[in-house]
């Protein structure tokens, strides 16, 4: 740089030596200085007032928009997380409920089965009791029928053996009836004995 200035000075000196008087290139005329300062002030004033505030504001808005976007995304994420949490809670509740229902159903089922069983047992007992009653009725009927037939057959047999008809004889009938009553008593004694068993 110093060389350049030296060269410039030499050039000035050389041109001066040619005879013509020339102002130095390193001279600073006050009017040019003022023109330079005015030029800067116009540019500075114009830009600072009319151009740069606009772009500064726009850049700030852009930064805001970008940061706002990030903020919105974060908010949406938090919301989604909340929602997921809520769903998860609901899901857990539903699962619990389902399990409770299942337990209840199991309890209900055993209760129902128990009930059905006891009902069936009662029905079976009833049927058995009826059958027993029927059976004993049938037996007593059969017994009495049998007794009567035996009586008749015995009489018939005895008549045949004795050779005379005892059928219409009242006395004989009385004897037979006594005999049968005696038989019945005996039979009752046996049936009571078997019932007790």
């Amino acid at each position: 740089m110093i060389n350049v200035i030296a060269a410039a000075s030499a050039a000035v000196a050389a041109s001066g030596a040619e005879g013509e008087e020339m102002p130095s290139v390193l001279a600073v005329p006050i009017d040019e200085l003022i023109i330079g300062i005015i030029a800067f002030l116009i540019v500075f004033g114009g830009l600072a007032k009319f151009a740069l505030p606009n772009i500064k504001r726009t850049l700030a808005e852009r930064a805001d928009a970008i940061e706002g976007g990030i903020e919105r995304a974060a908010k949406a994420e938090a919301e989604a997380k909340d929602l997921a949490e809520q769903y998860r809670a609901q899901l857990a509740a539903a699962r619990e409920e389902a399990s409770a229902i299942r337990t209840q159903a199991q309890a209900d089922r055993s209760a129902i089965i128990e009930e059905a069983r006891s009902e069936a047992r009662a029905a079976a007992q009833q049927v058995t009791a009826q059958a027993d009653a029927q059976l004993s009725a049938d037996r007593s009927q059969a017994t009495s029928q049998l007794t009567r037939q035996i009586g008749e057959m015995s009489v018939t047999l005895a008549g045949k053996i004795v050779g005379q008809s005892l059928t219409d004889d009242a006395r004989v009938r009385q004897t037979v009836e006594d005999f049968i009553a005696d038989l019945e008593r005996q039979a009752e004694g046996t049936s009571q004995g078997s019932a007790q068993q």
Binding site: S15, L26, L52, N54, I55
Partner: protein, 275 residues
């Protein structure tokens, strides 16, 4: 190296073997005749090609950026996109990087400097303009002066009058005896050499670059004559002039960046003396 300059340097007939020495360009290529002059008070303002270019630049910068940022959209397109690139380059690349968090306040200041200096430099390779506005020494001096009278008051305001000079002249971490030597040096370096180099660095780069391009352009014209050596030399000079023009385009942007970055560094030093 407009035609006028070539004529001024030796005339259109001045070629190799025409009995005419090489008309090396000198300081005269940086001096322009008045187009008009204006007297305010007892000060005469000279309107030359350079001043006209300077105000064309001022107009172009204002027109472009006011147009580009007239109704900025969140999703930029067209001119706003280009303008935004410039804005973010200054804000993030210079203001925030150098000054820090409170650098945003200085973006308009640095932004104005960068584009004013860059376009002023750029005039050196614009056809028909072909003179860097900043090769007129008063212009870089004016710019450096504005930076100087910005950062010194900021420093005094932020650190107090005593604090500002104490931080400037007595850097910490030095043996006390050394301050006898150091304080005058720091004074010279920070308050006198700093603004001077700030202006001279920009001026000298543009001045030298323009002189180089002019020299090779004139050489290409001068050597254009009916001889093999002359034609070869002319072609070589022409090629070098073109290459230097490309190189200058780089230097112009770089010097504008350096000027703006240094302005930011000085302001940062005034705001945060501990760095």
């Amino acid at each position: 190296m407009s035609l006028n300059n070539v004529v001024a340097s030796g005339g259109l007939d001045c070629h190799l073997n025409s009995g005419c020495g090489f008309p090396a360009p000198g300081a005269e290529i940086f001096l322009f005749d008045d187009i008009a002059s204006l007297t305010i008070g007892n000060l005469e303002f000279h309107v030359t090609k350079v001043t006209v270019l300077l105000f064309l630049i001022v107009f172009a910068i204002l027109a472009f950026f006011i147009y580009a940022f007239r109704k900025p959209k969140l999703v930029p397109r067209g001119a706003q996109n280009v303008g935004e690139m410039g804005y973010l380059f200054i804000r993030d690349g210079i203001a925030r990087d150098t000054i820090g968090k409170d650098g945003d306040r200085f973006v308009p200041f640095l932004f104005s400097f960068f584009f004013l200096v860059w376009l002023s430099n750029f005039m050196g390779i614009v056809p028909f303009a072909q003179i860097p506005v900043t090769s007129l020494f008063a212009i870089p001096v004016a710019f450096a002066l504005i930076v100087y009278i910005t950062w010194v008051p900021i420093g005094i305001y932020r650190q107090g009058f005593g604090g500002f000079f104490k931080n400037l002249l007595f850097p910490p971490g030095v043996p006390k005896a050394m301050y006898v030597l150091l304080a005058p040096l720091e004074f010279l370096s920070n308050l006198i050499v700093r603004p001077a180099t700030h202006a001279i660095r920009l001026f000298a780069n543009m001045f030298a670059g323009h002189l180089l391009i002019a020299t090779f352009s004139i050489a290409a014209f001068y050597l254009l004559s009916a001889s093999v050596i002359g034609l070869l030399g002319s072609a070589a000079s022409f090629t070098v002039a073109i290459a230097l023009t490309g190189f200058e385009a780089l230097i112009q942007a770089l010097q504008a960046y350096i000027f703006t970055l240094l302005a930011a560094v000085y302001i940062a030093g005034a705001l945060h003396p501990e760095h």
